[in-house]
Amino acid sequence: MTILHLIRSSAFSSNDLKQCISNIEHYDNVVLLDDGCYNINHPLMKQLQDKSSMINLYIVKDHAQARAVNFDDISKEVLNSITMTELVALTFSNDSVVTWQ
């Protein structure tokens, strides 16, 4: 049973990312979108990156660029940028979806 985790809020103002991280299992998919893109520069990001061998981590490109959030420094093996269309496809390939916001 895989979960698609949608992170839509900034960990600088909420606890949502922290709670999400405690509920991540092997093969889960995690997407940063909307204000969730700001988490790229949050200390909790390290915990997510540490899990990158067991999960897939994505960021919605347009949402990041709209906020001038730069993720070029992060290797593509750790973080993949996706379109909204690809996000929709992810909702079908996981068993359930949780929105953390």
Partner: protein, 122 residues
């Protein structure tokens, strides 16, 4: 055994009175229960404050929806899980205002959540 096909998790992450999240989650749980859906409740983060004993919402003119938790057995809601780490972080004990609550470690909690087909977070 959990029937994965239809099992529903309601994940409570907010404290009881400042928002309607907790009340909304309860209403949904009771509706699912009335339709015999396999529903479990999960409490994590500030959601654990909903289980604290001796709260007095009448002092702030708020309806005491927490009293309804004691009726879960009549709605076939048998599984209630709480995250131990969330209790520890808030200096709360496992002495709740309802019985039959299961306290789980963070990783057990995550695994139970993953065993549900539908997860609704409040």
């Amino acid at each position: 055994m959990i029937n994965k096909k239809q099992s529903i998790a309601i994940l409570n992450s907010t404290a009881p009175f400042a928002s309607t999240n907790g009340k909304d989650a309860l209403d949904l749980a009771l509706i699912f229960g009335s339709y015999e859906q396999n529903t479990s409740l999960f409490f994590q983060g500030d959601g654990v404050y909903q289980l604290v004993k001796k709260q007095s919402p009448d002092k702030i003119s708020t309806k005491d929806y927490l009293k309804t938790f004691a009726a879960f057995e009549f709605y076939d809601i048998k599984h209630i899980y709480v995250c131990a780490a969330s209790l520890d972080q808030r200096a709360l004990s496992d002495d709740f205002h309802i019985d039959n609550v299961t306290v789980l470690t963070t990783s057990e909690f995550s695994k139970e959540l993953h065993a549900r087909k539908i997860i609704l977070r409040f």
